[in-house]
Symmetry: C2
Subunit: 361 residues, 2 copies
Amino acid sequence: MRRVPVSLGQRSYHILVGSSLLQELGRHCSRFGLASKCAIISDSKVAPRFGSFIVQTLTDAGFDPRMIVVPAGERSKKLAEVERCYLALAKHRLERKSFVIALGGGVVGDLAGFVAATYLRGIPFVQIPTTLLAQVDSSVGGKVGVNLPAGKNLVGAFYQPRLVLCDSATLEPLPEREFRAGLAEVIKYGIIYDAPLFRRLERDLEKILARDKTVLEPIIARCCAIKAEVVGQDEMESGLRAILNFGHTIGHALEAISKYGRWLHGEAISIGQVAAAEISAELTGLPTAEVDRIRLLFERAGLPVQTRLNSSQRTKLFDAMRLDKKTSGGEVKFVLAKRIGQVIWGQKVPMPVIRKVLDQR
Amino acid sequence: MRRVPVSLGQRSYHILVGSSLLQELGRHCSRFGLASKCAIISDSKVAPRFGSFIVQTLTDAGFDPRMIVVPAGERSKKLAEVERCYLALAKHRLERKSFVIALGGGVVGDLAGFVAATYLRGIPFVQIPTTLLAQVDSSVGGKVGVNLPAGKNLVGAFYQPRLVLCDSATLEPLPEREFRAGLAEVIKYGIIYDAPLFRRLERDLEKILARDKTVLEPIIARCCAIKAEVVGQDEMESGLRAILNFGHTIGHALEAISKYGRWLHGEAISIGQVAAAEISAELTGLPTAEVDRIRLLFERAGLPVQTRLNSSQRTKLFDAMRLDKKTSGGEVKFVLAKRIGQVIWGQKVPMPVIRKVLDQR
């Protein structure tokens, strides 16, 4: 088992990465001195697999858990589901020292985290991410929230869990496409922060795709550690944290214009990262050989690296970029790479450059 | 003008208490370097009086304000109104550096504060409390939130404003009953923290009831300063902050069993404070002469000090106390007074003592 510390003063916590961690959940929760009542928020895909096991291990440790199941999929990340969770917590009489466990992927973590952040003005929260994407990205850093009809993640909070358990057993049933989509965030950490990690991914990609635990676990732990380092320096996203959005400006816009139906998040940011790399070659001197290595690694991971847009789609894409939460004064800012392992944020990119890169597709 | 600092590290801010402050709102907001887009959340009673003036002063200062009006009354403190506000903010394209102004009483402040705390994971927030209760209590300390069918304030956050403006002009149109209800919180500060304030209230009550600004403004500023001191020592309510709930255990329960229809909050906690004083005489040695002074001051302020309950109502009252957010392990805890100006929190009170005090009524 690997233990990744997330240093945020009084809100510090640990991410545990390993096998057979679920069995120890009750014991871990006992150490926090929490009340016995708790709620497990999960979705209709994950709950049938791991739900009753988790309920049992918590009950054995003296807790009184209540299971709350939401429909699987992004559409559950909405206020109506938040409200349904609140009502279930009230019915089960959760108190301030009770806690919420998120058991699922990013959607469940974001939803359950927002519920925990706002119920009784915030009750303790434990994350059990069950997708690769959630383990390396959304479960680290305390961003929780839900979507509005007007946009993704428009409502939320910064709220840190007490504990995150990344159990590799939960990745076993993950569909191939979802696993590969998670790799898009793994590759991102190499590009933005860690050239040796990028080289390790180039070298070990086949073993990773075979979900070889001995290779995968240290990589997951390393990704968590990178995100923890970045978030530890900039919890509220006033500067450095922006680098985590490499590839996300175009990626989010692609998701938005396709109404979140065509690409998984990891697929959209795969296209976005390759585009950002190409823009970087134009503006920040990223060597074209490195652009090629980036494109090739995404391709080898089975991820899309380009998309064709007609002119009406391109107009929509630009509009969507301008609507992004990270917009300031209506200007679109990018994270760009200088080299693999080193990026700079807050870069204004002239529209013609974005257009040129998109036209090559 | 009086300036009360609220010291909360990076989240520190000032409360300004005085006359003609509304005129300077635009100038104050300009100093924070915020984006031009902002939203004013107000209610159907306050918006017609002060709304267009506020919009004008903000527009003159270069801001682009959008007015959002909710129905007046506690019933607007619900998730459906939160959602309506979110949609209006999205439509007006508020960004992270945009801000929300709460213009109204406690309901508007709690609702707008929660909207600001959670929109884009938190955007800046300015409070303009327009009731005595909101000026001395709910606008200070960062508690924001809304009700659920299962209970009051079950959903919320701790979220500090950038600035609070208490303009005595906004109190002028306040109905007499609401003004007196606000005094219940003013008297509370004397009991829990400041014996000289309590004596000042005994001495100057007539001038206060006549809303004499020269008397009222320093008292409002003193109440804000007391709350700021308490909150500054215990923002997240892990200890000392509990003293602010003097009279609230029974008060909240009375509000709950009457479905928030019979008493204003200030009236319910007036009854609750007198009951807590009587329990204090039994358990923590509050002299009966001081219980009498407390009861008399509430009476002189035109506030209820007792209520008759039949046995079914009493059962409901006890149930409601046990459901209170501040419950821990199912046990009801009280704030009790040792003397006027000095209280202790977390006191277990045996049910027979509560019953005895209520039976005297």
